[in-house]
Symmetry: C2
Subunit: 496 residues, 2 copies
Amino acid sequence: MTKAAQARIMQRICQEIRDQLASGTLPPGARVPSTRALAAEWGVSRTTVTAAYGQLIAEGYLEARQGAATRVARGLAPSPPKPKKPPPTLGLHDELSAYGRRLADFVTASERDRERLAVDFRYGDIAGSDFPRLAWRKVVTTALLRRQPRLRYGDPAGSLRLRTALQGYVWRARGLRCEPDQVVIVNGSQQGIDLCARLLLDPGDRAVMEDPGYNLARQVFLAAGADVIPIAVDQEGMQIEGLPSARLAYTTPSHQFPLGSVMSAPRRRDLLTWAERYGAYVIEDDYDGEYRFDVSPIPTLQALEGGERVIYLGTVSKTLSPTLRLGYLIVPAALASLFASAKRLADRHTPGLEQEALAELIESGAYERHVRRMRRRNGQRRAAVLAALHETFGEEVTVVGAEAGLHVVIWLNSVPSAREDAIVACAYQSGLGIYPVNPLYASTTSTGARPPMAGLVMGYASLDDEGIRCGVRSLKQVINNVSPKRPDELRRGART
Amino acid sequence: MTKAAQARIMQRICQEIRDQLASGTLPPGARVPSTRALAAEWGVSRTTVTAAYGQLIAEGYLEARQGAATRVARGLAPSPPKPKKPPPTLGLHDELSAYGRRLADFVTASERDRERLAVDFRYGDIAGSDFPRLAWRKVVTTALLRRQPRLRYGDPAGSLRLRTALQGYVWRARGLRCEPDQVVIVNGSQQGIDLCARLLLDPGDRAVMEDPGYNLARQVFLAAGADVIPIAVDQEGMQIEGLPSARLAYTTPSHQFPLGSVMSAPRRRDLLTWAERYGAYVIEDDYDGEYRFDVSPIPTLQALEGGERVIYLGTVSKTLSPTLRLGYLIVPAALASLFASAKRLADRHTPGLEQEALAELIESGAYERHVRRMRRRNGQRRAAVLAALHETFGEEVTVVGAEAGLHVVIWLNSVPSAREDAIVACAYQSGLGIYPVNPLYASTTSTGARPPMAGLVMGYASLDDEGIRCGVRSLKQVINNVSPKRPDELRRGART
C-alpha cells in the first residue's frame, strides 16, 4: 500500500471514530477497541491504527495515559439528544470540498443597493462617460467583420497578436521586458491571482501579503487553504525585514492598496532576495500602474535584477472598464506553459473578440492616447478631491496615497476607528457611498499598525467635479452628526 | 490552541523530521528525541508530538516496538550520497502546488498546425459563415451605446437580465424549469465543470464519468486530485448498474460524447436514485442539446423527479461560437450562492458586454431563430456526411451517434484500432484533419468495452457539402494506403 493510501485509510478510521463519538456509540470515558482488533477489522497494519489514535488524541477526542488503555476523552461534551437516524442525505456542508466549505464559511457582508446613492466614492468604479465607446465599437466591429473560415477554440495563453501588442505596451509604459510567450491573457486580475494560488499554494502553505490589503486576494489565498500572514505596511510599503518563509508574497509595490505608499528600493531588493532564498514567488499586482501624478514613473519589481521570481499582473479595469474582464499575467518563462495549461482547464481561453479588439486598440496607438487622456482626467478629479477635502476639513483629516492611483485614504484625526461603521451607515442614509478602511485589514486586532482613527477609502474615478465637492461636503455633515467633536474620545476609542 | 492549529503544528513537526531523515541528520536506526524533549522544543503538548510520531510510523519513516524507544526505520534506503549543501532554489516541480504538479505531469500532445489542412473534421469547430455577424454586431452595439453613468463590477452570478432570458430559453428549448437565482453565467462549459470540481471534489474523492468521454472534463477531475472512475457506455448511455459510490458523476445524457447514445429512461432514474443515495451530484453536460435530427426532443435529467441533485450545463459554443466563452450552469437552489462566491473569486464575473448582447439576442427572438437555422444547416451537413460515408465506404464502416449533435463516430470494421494513429498521421500529410477515438478513453486497457476496430470522430459543423465529400473520399484513400485489406488482420490487431 502506498503511503498516500495509508494516510487516507488513517483519515477514514479517524472519521469513523469521530462519527461514533458524535452519535454516542462511544460514550465519554469508554475504552476504544484495541489497535489489534481495529487493524483486523479494517485490514490494515496496527501502525496505521496507532497513527489514527495518535491523531485523535492530538485533536482531544481520545485520552491515553502511560500503561493504560486509550479512552474517549471524559471532557467531551455529552452528545446532543439523539434524533432518529439522520436522513441518508448529508448536510450541504458535508457535500462540499474543503475549498467549498472554506468559501461557505466566509461571511460576505451583503451589498447595499447602490443605485439610490447620489454620490458614490466606491473604489473600482469608472465613469461611464470615460469609456471610449466609439473607439471600442470600431475595434470590436473590425474584429467581428474579419472573415474567419472557422471559429475554433483559441490559444489558452491568449491570442499571439494581443500578447505581442502587450509586450510592446508594458515595455513602453512600465519599462518591463518580456517575451510574448511569458504573457498569459486572463479575465481580469482576479483570475490572475486565482491561477497563481492554484498553481503555487497547497492547503497549509504560507502566503504573505500586505495588511491592510486587497481583500479579494486575501480571500483567494484563504479559500486555497493557505495560512495567510498579514505583513504591516508603512511609508516604504510592505515591511520586508523579518518576513517569514512562505511560498508566495502578494504585493502592490507601485501604489500600495489601499494606503498608497510606494515600496522603497531597498525593500524591493530585499523582497526579491527573500523570494530567491525561499524559492517563493512574488505576485506584483500593478492594478493602477498607469496613474501617477506627482511622482516619477515607478519601475516594476519584475524589471529589477532578481525579477525572474516575480509574476506581474496588469489589467485594463482601471483604464477601460472593469466589466470587460481583461487582464494579463507576465510569468517567469519556466512557468509559462503551466499557466497556459491551468487557464485551459479553467475556461479554455479569454473571449476572442475582446482580445482582438484590445490588440487592435493597442496597435493603432488609440489605447495609449486614451490612457493619457484618462490620466489627465483623473488628475483633475484628484485635484478636486484634495481641494474639497482641504477646504472642508482643513486639519481634521490626513490624506494619504494621493500621489498615484484612483483613490485616496483619509484618516479622520479626531474620530476613533470604532465610529467607521456608524459613519458609513449614516452616509448611506444620506445618499452618500463611502467605504471604511477596517475591512481591508486582515483582522482588526492582528497588527499594532492600525491607526486608532477612523479611515475611509475614497475612489474618485467615477465622479465629476461637482459630485466630488457635493460628496465631500455631505461627508462632513455626516461626520459631524455621527461624531460631534469631543477631543477626549479618540483616546477612549483607541482603547476599545 | 484550536484543533486546526494543533494539526498544522503536527504536520510541521512531521515535515521537520522527514527533512532530517532526508538530509541524514537522523540516520536509519537512530533513536528519535523523546516526546517530552520535542514537545518542549516546539512549545506544544506531548500528545501533539505523539500524534506526529504516529503519523510518521504509519508512513513507514519511524518504527516503534512495544516497550522500546521509537527509532528511524532501519529499512529506510540509505540517504543518497550527499552533495554539497543543495542550492537554495528548489526544482520547479517542488515549487508547485499539488494541483500544479498534477497539471505539469499531464502529457499534452502538441497540437498539429491545422492551418494547412484542406478539410478538417475537428470536433468543436463551427463554420465562420454560420456566425450571425450582423445580428451580433447589432446587439453588441446596442449594449455598447447604452448610457451607463458608471462602469462597475457586475453580479458574480451574471446579469439578472441574461439569467432571466435564459430561464425562459431553457424552458422553451429544453423543458427545464428553474429560477433566475439558480442560473450562474460562466465562461463556457469548461469553467462550469471546473467550478463544480472545485466546490465538490477533494483530492482522493471519487468521481465517475463516461468512458469514452470528454477529456477536458476528465483532466479537470484528475487535476483536482480526484480518483476518476471510468464507466462504460453502451446503446443506453452510461451503465448505471453497480455504479460505485462517488461525490460526483459527469454525464452527457442527451448525446453521449463521443459515441452519441441517449441515456435511457430507466438509467436516468437509476442515476438520480444513486445520487440521492450517496449524496452525490450529477453534472449534466448538455453540450449540443440544441441539435436533434431523427429523434424527438430528449428531456433533461434536471427536469426529472430527483433532478435537484443535478447541475445542468448549457453553452452557446455550438450555436454561436466557441470563442465567445459563454455558458451557464443551472444549479440546485441550495448551492446557488456558493457557486456565485466561487465565480467571484475565480474572475469576478463573465464579461458584461457579451452578457447584455446575448440577453438582447434571446429576448428579441433572434437567438432561437438562429438556432433553428443552424439546426437546418447542420441537418444538411449531417445528411451529406452520412451519404458520403455510405457511398464511399458502404459496409466497411459503422456510423454511430448520428441522431443528434454535430459529429459522428465511425468504426472502420476491418481496421484494427492499433492503426488509428497511423491513419491520423497519414491523413494529416494529405491535408485532412481527422481525430481518433482512442484518446477519449480513460485508458486503452481500462475497459473491455473498447471495440477492436479503429474509430474516428468526425465533426462536421465547420464544413460545406463539397468539403465533406472531398474529406470522406480523401479519408478512404488514406485508409487504403495505411491499411490494405487483409481480413485476418483485425483479429491479430485486436489481440495486441
